[in-house]
Symmetry: none
């Protein structure tokens, strides 16, 4: 199952959140649908049969938990995954939510990278998609959940930026990532850092993991490959 085939329905009454999530998920290649209330969500879900529904807990009228219950009652949606969006403070929903049939929680405020990997995680768990399952290439295993890279079984913990850079490179082994692409995805499109910064991080990775995993394509970028 490819990302392109995956439909995600986002339900939230705040327009900012809808757009933010929508943008980031579309950018990853998912098919994204949105709506801003529970009733519409149920109708839309029946119609498009998304694999995953991101559901805000706090909504006027029909709240997330009740919406979730009703979706769970739909036989045609039995395979649909539901993840709740919650503010950090509201942890009461934790209990009520799982009861209603939620598969995961995502806390606001939501950071793009976290969102993406979380969603990949949810989808992987239930669809046995290998979208970005823990890569395992040439003795290197990247565990996105634990934030650790295993080199021939030995855990190597990496700081955030190094980990994210490694994660990006390993997300498509062999593919050459342009420096611009790396900056955009690891640092974020709006952050401006010098080109040498990437080099330094690459160097640290090579130092910790060995020289043979990351290849330089001069004038183009870097790739993870054997």
């Amino acid at each position: 199952m490819n990302k392109e085939d995956i439909k995600i329905l986002i339900v939230d009454d705040e327009n900012d959140i809808l757009e933010f999530l929508s943008y980031n998920l579309k950018r990853e290649g998912y098919q994204v649908f949105v709506c801003d209330n529970g009733r519409e969500a149920i109708a839309k879900a029946k119609d498009i049969k998304p694999q995953l529904i991101l559901l805000d807990v706090m909504m006027p009228e029909l709240d997330g938990i009740e919406t979730c219950r009703q979706i769970r009652n739909e036989k045609t949606l039995s395979d649909t995954l539901i993840a709740f969006l919650t503010a950090r403070s509201e942890d009461y929903s934790q209990i009520a939510g799982f009861d209603a049939g939620a598969d995961d929680y995502i806390h606001k405020p939501i950071k793009p990278r976290v969102l993406i990997s979380r969603i990949a995680g949810v989808l992987r768990r239930f669809l046995s998609s290998d979208a970005d399952a823990n890569a395992d290439i040439g003795g290197l295993v990247l565990d996105r959940e634990k934030f650790i890279v295993f080199k021939e079984g030995n855990p190597v913990s990496l700081p955030k930026k190094e980990f994210e850079l490694m994660a990006l490179l390993m997300s498509k082994p062999g593919k050459v990532f342009l420096r611009e692409e790396i900056l955009d995805k690891v640092w974020g499109g709006d952050v401006v850092v010098g080109d040498r910064t990437i080099d330094v991080h690459i160097r640290k990775l090579r130092e910790k993991l060995g020289e043979n995993y990351i290849k330089t394509i001069k004038g183009v970028g870097y790739k993870f490959d054997l």
Copy 2:
């Protein structure tokens, strides 16, 4: 679907941007149309039915988002892709763009290489275009993503210019590329290098890949053929 068949409409009130984008996209072989305001854009879009519209968000009178909405209301343009051009600073979570039906965002300032690959990405995602599929002719496979040429299964890595030259020749097997054409597409229309430079690169390619792939047509140019 070939690049030559793809029409792109660029809408921006700044003339510099129009020219910059237009130049770079034409160079890639797309059919490019421009206009500098929203109203005209809608009319032009109905007329030429472009596959992709690049739309500046910030425009006087009819802004990008409103223009997008109106285009989305046109039944005859239902398959048209819309990508917004935004300044780095305008945080995407604040933009009402996706709601209006945008398919992607491209941040200014725009770098040519990023633009090109981004657009190829957008088009590929939605048109299943084979814009940069891997050529495979007579035992030679050119993998643009991995930046590698496989010769009978064995990877041969090429420096940037050599790779781009090879990619160009392989993009239309059999077609003779004039020296002028090669300079324009590989080096860029504004770069001035001597004619011998091409020869040298051709020689390096023949050295690495074998003598039988690239043929010289005296007084005309080179072609990739068996």
